[in-house]
Amino acid sequence: MTVTLSVNGTTHRIDADPETPLLYVLRDNLELNGAKFGCGIGQCGSCTVMVDGEAVLSCITPVLLLEGRKVTTVEGLGTLEKPGPMQQAFIEEQAAQCGYCIPGMMMRAQVLLQADPAAGEAAIRAHLEPNLCRCGTHVRIVKAVMRAGELIRQNSQSGGGAT
């Protein structure tokens, strides 16, 4: 069966079983690496992507539910050559060790900052509660998200985009 999916601004027609979780479509069909397999049961958040401005666990969300909706992965936030504010902030704060959980963290944080770029530390911590990190990078991750908020606010003041 074919499913039509909008990912990072591009529309794709995907040939996949409609029950296939979005994660496998992103990784296997579209060859995107940002969303990671961590647990397959929605407990760790490493597969988190943004769907229409909400954080979604792609490992447990069947692709059939996403017909016509806008999916954003970490690849949609910027590139190696031109990192977006969230990516820039994680680089500046050196907020990664192994980095495996980081794209999921960034996508969940992006959801918060799109709604409230001035979100404070307590709000960020509460918002990131579903996502696990095993290297113990948490303190840097929180700092990076706060820095991303600053960069987004600077961009919007100077007329740039908010992503």
Partner: protein
């Protein structure tokens, strides 16, 4: 991918010597990562000149650094990036001594076809071994290039200097490294002495350089083994038995073979796997295969009730770790006695283990996040029954590595499956429940301490007994691999052996570094392994430092002395004193009263008693009604020797503290007689953001010119002790059994 460098014929002999316990060659053995962690008997080692770091195993300069005619610099390390930032630190060291821009260095990490054999990337030894080797190799190569320029210009070499990939003469003329490297012979053996740059002239080392791997990681650029996509690649999943020792008794796989996308069901004895075109097809096929496979009973696991206490009743071999003065009969004013325990704990990487393997033209190539490409190649080739030259293992990053996890097993799984589908690359990934149930755990441990003070409040005697399995069952031998244990003629896990080494294993850090006149430390080594175990970050140091530093606080209370002051009174090593003072000062250590439910805790250790020094102070908040504890803030001071990347040291130490806090507050493998029951993140909870400290501050001691001491594991031991000491301070109650989950704290404080 199929090119083969000329092998250094001495390598395998040297690798075997890595496990040597021959005392006169202890330097050589330490160079090959994991002294105290490697098992096996070694052939007699050849005496070699004492070369710095891993140069002792691979002396040729051009095995470490190559400069081509265009001046492009490639650096080769046998160590692997595990998320600890070692690539960046090695680039800094090479750039500094070679006088080239760090951005101009291409770094090639662990690959059996391309890099020196440096054993395992483990034990916080990458900078001591590989960093030291590359630093000396770079300095010696720089001097050769200067000498070459001196010969070409007919001037004395002391009139020349190296700068930004060139050699510069006093009149400003330059010769570039490419030209000089083409003319010079760089295939020379290292000499024991190098002209190292003094700390004062550093441009790159000692500076917080940004990690080279982070931009890729935050943009979804393929960097992990999980991200490998090769032409024609297929996806595989394994089906494990319900518990160890169970064998496959019956299988009708016809329904699985008919599923869409399924290419093969692989059965080899009790090894069972499925291969499909797409990943989710492989998962569906795995689920059906699980439901149709029939298994024998297997081995019963131990009864979980009072399991930890039962460790003392298992058959043991006793090893004397340390003995001095009199063991008994010392007159004592006061004595503290206690038992400390920790359960089995997991590595729990967020991404389950993964590997890609390709069997083609008689050669098996495996991409793996293993810690040791060479030992893994030995194990896989033994399992496949082929010479090691027919297996190539290439390290590619995986999810975070904190010791011997499922990486080697996944590599073996993929290699075995690849034999069934020649010519097609196989990507094998474990499921979450497989990682939780089948990775080798950090061993359960029990320790007993009996320590006494004299009338003056000084420690006069110390008796310490620990019960533990080995903390290493790494490959090398095929029997260390789950897949090899499942073959029709199974490879058996090698028998564990007791060995007492300077850096320790289960007995790592079992000897207090404090000045104590009478001491006896015994490892009751347990050969029998009820659950599969191996190396988890810091090995026995996590439990031993927990026990020692908890005891130090109780003795301080008995002596009526502040715990920091009590430690200083017994610490003679000036670098030990310095980190204790720095952590106390940075934290603002005092005896001032804290609000209800808050407490301060302190702890110290020198990792392995021969590597990095670390002291920490922390504040904890205990919620009386629930028993929930949260670390509020932490200040640590670390001395890792000469600093290469200060931010790298901070990142590793912050992470070590938070991870060890998670182990300490929450973590325990659970099981019953029928199998492992902690198979996901709800049955094995770890720390989440809500419980993360408000701040973790790391102070780095400046030690110019001192040898590298490593960083990665230094915080693991002090953290549980500082937490226990802080809970004691907050509640008046001492906790002896890890984890300090809410119900345990509640029971201890009696609410």
């Amino acid at each position: 991918m199929t090119s083969h460098d000329v092998k250094n014929p001495t390598r395998r002999g040297v690798l075997a010597a890595g496990g040597s316990l021959v005392v006169s060659f202890s330097l050589l053995s330490r160079a090959f990562g994991q002294e105290g962690e490697v098992q096996g008997t070694a052939p007699p080692a050849q005496p070699k000149p004492k070369l710095p770091g891993s140069l002792s195993g691979e002396p040729f300069l051009d095995a470490w650094i190559k400069i081509d005619a265009k001046g492009e610099v490639s650096v080769f390390t046998g160590k692997a990036e595990l998320g600890q930032g070692v690539k960046t630190a090695i680039i800094q060291v090479a750039a500094e001594e070679l006088e080239v821009d760090p951005g101009a260095i291409r770094l090639i990490t662990a690959d059996t076809d391309r890099t020196p054999d440096e054993g395992y990337t483990a034990g916080s030894q990458s900078m001591q071994n590989s960093g030291t080797a590359i630093r000396h190799a770079a300095a010696q190569m720089r001097e050769i290039l200067i000498a070459q320029a001196a010969a070409q210009w007919q001037v004395p070499p002391d009139q020349l200097r190296a700068e930004n990939g060139t050699v510069v003469k006093r009149d400003g003329q330059t010769l570039d490294y490419g030209t000089l490297a083409s003319a010079a012979n760089l295939h020379v053996e290292a000499t024991p002495q190098s002209r190292l740059k003094p700390t004062g002239s550093f441009k790159v080392m000692g500076q917080p350089m940004r990690r080279v791997d982070i931009p890729a990681k935050v943009t979804g650029t393929p960097i992990y083994v999980q991200d490998i996509r090769l032409p024609g690649m297929v996806h595989a999943r394994v089906v494990r038995p319900p518990r160890p020792g169970a064998t496959l008794t019956a299988l009708d796989a016809a329904a699985v073979e008919r599923l869409p996308g399924v290419i093969a069901v692989v059965r080899n004895g009790s090894f069972l796997a499925v291969v499909a075109e797409r990943e989710f097809q492989a998962i569906r096929a795995m689920l059906l295969l699980e439901s149709v496979a029939q298994w024998s009973e297997g081995r019963k696991l131990p009864k979980p009730e009072n399991f930890i206490q039962s460790l003392k009743t298992l058959p043991s071999q006793d090893g004397v770790v340390s003995e001095k003065g009199q063991a008994t009969g010392i007159p004592a004013a006061k004595t503290f006695e206690a038992t400390f325990t920790r359960p089995y704990q997991i590595h729990g990487s967020i991404g389950p283990s993964c590997a890609v393997a390709l069997f083609e033209n008689g050669t098996t190539t495996v991409w793996s996040h293993t810690q040791g490409v060479y030992p893994d190649r030995s194990a896989i080739s033994e399992m496949l029954g082929v010479p090691p030259e027919q297996v190539r293992v290439i390290h590619v990053e995986g999810s975070g590595c904190y010791g011997h996890n499922g990486a080697d097993d996944a590599a073996a799984d993929a290699a075995l499956i690849a034999q069934a589908v020649p010519g097609r690359p196989v990507r094998l990934q474990w499921m979450r429940e497989q990682e939780h149930a089948w990775e080798p755990y950090g061993p359960a441990m029990l320790t007993e301490v009996r320590a006494s003070l004299d009338e003056a409040g000084r420690i006069v005697s110390w008796n310490y007994d620990l019960w533990s399995n080995t903390h290493t069952t790494r490959p090398g031998p095929a029997g260390s691999l789950v897949a090899a244990n499942s073959l029709p003629t199974p490879f058996q896990p090698p028998a564990a052996k007791l060995s007492i080494t300077p850096s320790g294993n289960g007995d790592r850090n079992a000897v207090p570094l404090y000045a104590i006149p009478n001491m006896r430390v015994i490892w009751h080594f347990l050969p029998e392994m009820p659950l599969r175990v191996s190396a988890l970050r810091a090995l026995g140091a996590y439990v031993n430092v927990f026990a020692i530093e908890s005891t130090m606080d109780e003795l301080a209370v008995m002596a009526g002395v502040d715990p920091v002051e009590f430690r200083l009174r017994h610490m003679e090593d000036p670098r030990g004193r310095a980190v204790i003072e720095a952590a106390a000062e940075g934290f603002g250590w005092s005896r001032d009263p804290l609000p209800e439910g808050r407490g301060r805790g302190f702890a110290f250790a020198r990792y392995k008693n021969l590597a990095a020094y670390l002291a920490m102070a922390l504040e904890i908040e205990v919620e009386r009604e629930t028993g929930r504890s949260r670390v509020v803030r932490v200040v640590a001071a670390i001395d890792s020797g000469e600093v290469v990347n200060p931010d790298g040291i901070r990142n590793q130490t912050e992470g070590g503290i938070i991870q060890a806090a998670s182990w300490t507050l929450y973590e325990a493998v659970t099981f019953d007689e029928s199998g492992i029951t902690s198979v996901d993140w709800s049955s094995y909870p770890i720390m989440r953001f809500g419980a993360v400290p408000e701040s973790v501050e790391v102070r780095i001691m400046d030690r110019p010119g001192e040898p590298f001491l490593g960083t990665g594991e230094a915080a693991q031991g002090p953290t549980p002790a500082a937490i226990g000491n802080a809970i004691r301070h907050a509640t008046g109650k001492r906790l002896y059994d890890i984890p300090f989950r809410a119900e345990r704290v509640k029971a201890a404080i009696g609410v």
